[in-house]
Amino acid sequence: MYRIRLHGRGGQGIKTASQILGTAAFYSGYQAQDFPLYGAERRGAPIVAFTRISEKPVLERGPISSPDIILVGDETLLDDPQAAPLCGADESTAVFINSTLETSVLQQQLHLSSSLLKLNLTELCIQHLNKGTVLSTALAAAGARLVGMITLEALLKAVDAELSQQGIGSIQENLNLTKEIFQNLFPVVLKPRKEKTISPSEIILMEQANIEEAAPIILSPGNMILRKTGNWRVQRPEIDYEHCNHCLICYARCPDGAISLGPDDKPEIDYDHCKGCLICAQECPGHFINTVREAGVES
């Protein structure tokens, strides 16, 4: 069985990628299962999805902790401790990263025992689709090629089926993109993973605690500040202070309380937490909040 884990951000088509991969494997005559994991979060937040491919029925469900192949669509996640895309990678894992960097540079940064592969998918997406933000086809094509058992014919059919089902246009462009990626990569040979014998869990006998600890009581509220959501941003709002008249409408409207008041009631954006929803820019009566693409996100 191949266990594939895909990482990216909400809006990048990671779930669709896992589905294209699942469908392509299914069309190639294999058993397949795919599954996204998302909580109550939104565009820009780290997303993980899974595809399992097997000759025999898949007797597994839920998240994959020991993946055979990891596909990282967004390299800015590599040092995000919450997303932890490389978690569970070992010498039997192949890690694929959508990156502008050379493999040797990535290897130096990451010190992985896994085999490491890269391709600049974003660049290829820009060439074929005129945009580099949606990676569904590209990441699925990379995964399908690395797995090896998926035929190009099945993959193309899966891209067509999944994108049509979602009402996504530019099918032909996506098919061309698929072909190019398929030609640019080669199946990986994975070191077989040693079957571990099962040993029991370290079960603990829970004891009764005081009510402060026993119930979901938060004695230290206001802790959302610890959750840095700044890297969810695709677009960054920037206040044009030369024109801003301190009306504070942006301050009142920011749904995340990410705008605070500086000296002279000057609105200040907290970029550690601003999620880039751009409501402030919409609401500013004089349009004094500019929107700028975040570095690392291609247009």
């Binding site: 058993q31 998240p63 040993s199 829970m206 402060e212």
Partner: protein, 412 residues
């Protein structure tokens, strides 16, 4: 490319397809995570003419279940779906409509109950409907969801049953998981489940009748309740007949509970729903390690197939009933039902332990299954065994550190 007419579907989509192929005529809906995709899909199909009939957005689950029951009382085929807090909110209506003795299919996408609130599954929501007089079928796979909806309508509409059938699936682990599902052709499905033509009285224009009148004195109330009970029990025979016919037409056989490597098993896990898949994987691995494990997966939970379960478990040394639910102050909800099913038999298992795990979507790992084996072996192990390990403790402590750092609560 060998694909038959299988398509990759999430559990939710498989449920929508079940309703579609059953040609349901009325769907009252109220969305709730993780069920939303079901009603969204059906809304689309009613809007674009794929399905003929009426789809209505309701203002709550309470009115949704009432509308479902009322529509069923007019003799149309009804489908609806909910989850978790929605089930609780509609609970009064569930008791009401089962008492009306009307047929419909209701899908519950299991999600653990607040408080604390979560989106991930366990079975306290579906277990809360245990006593309200529904028929319950629990699905492990997306295929079972689809099939159980067809079988469900057939049981519900049987004149000797006339009760709502609840089909249960786990949120996330099934609702959002895609796997290949075989959708049989319409003609064969119609053979199994013809269009609904009730042979009993239904509400019709200009033909006044009443349902659900008030009764006093106890005797009349008792009579109807006991009839309800008889119908629920009879549903087991109807289930067996329906699944036999289903097997003949479609080739998939559904007993009230599935026996997985049971024949020579010394250690048996009793499970239900999607985590049974994990249990099966563990059984295969344990067997590789020389431990003769087996698994009994309960499909029909109401009526409880007492004799079938007793027959399946008797003769095996050790049994662990894994409940993904918790009745605080007692333990697992299905455990006493299994024990009481086995009590009359002399060759009942020597040891029947209760295990509680998978709460709020917590994984049940291979290692947990090994711990359960140890627990069954150990002669003085206390039951229940609660699956909570060092790693869980650490995960909890990380969160607790953030939430609870203030040690003194100010009195002002």
């Amino acid at each position: 490319m060998k694909t038959d007419n299988k398509i990759m579907l999430t559990g939710n989509k498989a449920a929508a397809w079940g309703a579609r192929m059953a040609q349901v005529e009325y769907v009252p809906a109220f969305p709730i995570t993780p069920q939303t995709e079901i009603v969204e899909t059906l809304a689309q199909w009613f809007a674009d003419g794929t399905l003929q009939g009426k789809f209505t957005n309701m203002d709550s689950e309470h009115s949704m279940f009432m509308a479902a029951g009322a529509a069923a009382a007019t003799g149309v085929r009804v489908f609806t779906a909910s989850s978790s807090q929605g089930i609780l909110h509609g609970m009064e209506s569930l008791y009401t409509i089962t008492g009306w003795r009307v047929p419909l299919v209701l899908v519950n996408v299991s999600r653990a109950l607040a408080t604390p609130i979560t989106l991930e599954p366990d079975h306290n929501d579906v277990m809360s409907t245990r006593d309200c007089g529904l028929i319950q079928l629990h699905a492990e796979t997306c295929q079972e969801i689809f099939d159980f909806i067809l079988i469900g309508h057939k049981i519900a509409e049987n004149p000797q049953v006339c009760l709502p059938v609840l089909v249960n699936m786990d949120g996330f682990y099934l609702s959002f998981t895609r796997e290949p599902v075989l959708i049989p052709d319409k003609k064969t499905i119609l053979k199994f489940l013809p269009l609904f033509e009730p042979v009993y009285p239904v509400f019709q224009a200009s033909q006044p009748m009443a349902r659900a009148s008030a009764v006093f004195g106890g005797s009349t109330y008792s009579y109807f309740k006991m009839q309800h009970n008889l119908a629920a029990h009879h549903a087991e025979k109807v289930f067996n007949d329906a699944t036999a016919e289903f097997s003949e037409l479609f080739g998939r056989t559904y007993e009230p509970a599935e026996k997985f490597h049971m024949d020579d098993a010394d250690f048996v896990f009793v499970m239900s729903n999607s985590f049974a898949t994990k249990g099966k994987a563990a059984v295969l691995k344990l067997r590789q390690q020389g431990i003769k494990a087996g698994l009994l997966k309960i499909r029909l939970f109401r009526p409880f197939p007492v004799a079938f379960i007793a027959q399946a478990l008797c003769g095996h040394e050790r049994v662990a009933v894994i409940d993904q639910n918790l009745a605080p102050g007692m333990g697992g909800i299905t455990y006493p039902e299994i024990v009481s099913s086995l009590y009359p038999y002399e060759n009942r298992p020597k040891k029947i332990v209760s295990v509680i795990g998978g709460l709020g979507g917590k994984d049940i790992t291979e290692s947990d299954f090994m711990s359960i084996i140890d627990h069954m072996k150990n002669s003085d192990s206390k039951t229940p065994l609660y699956l909570f390990d060092q790693e869980d403790q650490r995960a909890f402590q990380r969160i607790q550190k953030i939430a609870n750092v203030k040690k003194e609560v100010s009195s002002s």
